[in-house]
Amino acid sequence: MSPLLAAAVDLTLVLYALAMALVLPRLLGGPTAQDRVLALDLSYVFGMLVMLVLAMRYESTSYFEAALLMVLLGFVGSMALAKFLLRGEVIE
């Protein structure tokens, strides 16, 4: 990996970390429960993006499965939380 690409990968990881830190006040502070769920969903997407970039950094395709799992588990978790907020039950 060339120095240019290594620098770009590092810059991208720093930007993702900054984005996750910017989401944190919304996740911890609300103001409503659905705001927190939205912030959690967005941080799942950022975690998935970090996995994609780490796959390039460590030249391993195993990170791809982790990224796909994070997409699916983030969707299932957000759907369960949204269903709970809507109905008061996850499975009726």
Binding site: L49, L72, K83
Partner: protein
Amino acid sequence: MTSPAALEIVVALLLAASGVAAVLAAVGLLRLPDFFTRTHAPALASSAATWCATLASIVWFGSRAPGPALHLWLIPIVLSITAPVTAMMLSRAALFRGRQAGAPLPPPLGGRQ
């Protein structure tokens, strides 16, 4: 056939664009005024940022292994199906909870003053 240097420049630019889009999505979630406008911000992360990052991965792994890196397409395809469903369910939950709390939802036409 492009040279390796040009290919790396393309990958680096796509990665930087993905990072900038992610930061913009986070800033949107932080700064927008109410929940229904905030639901628009994560779409930037699950569309632009994800597309740029997967495209960079596709170009990078496609240049290193024989054959195209097709399995990486699964991530934007799955995300483009799941992200709107999540946003719609959360909006319905917010509408329900706002009406239970007595808020005049949906807000009147004409936008905010």
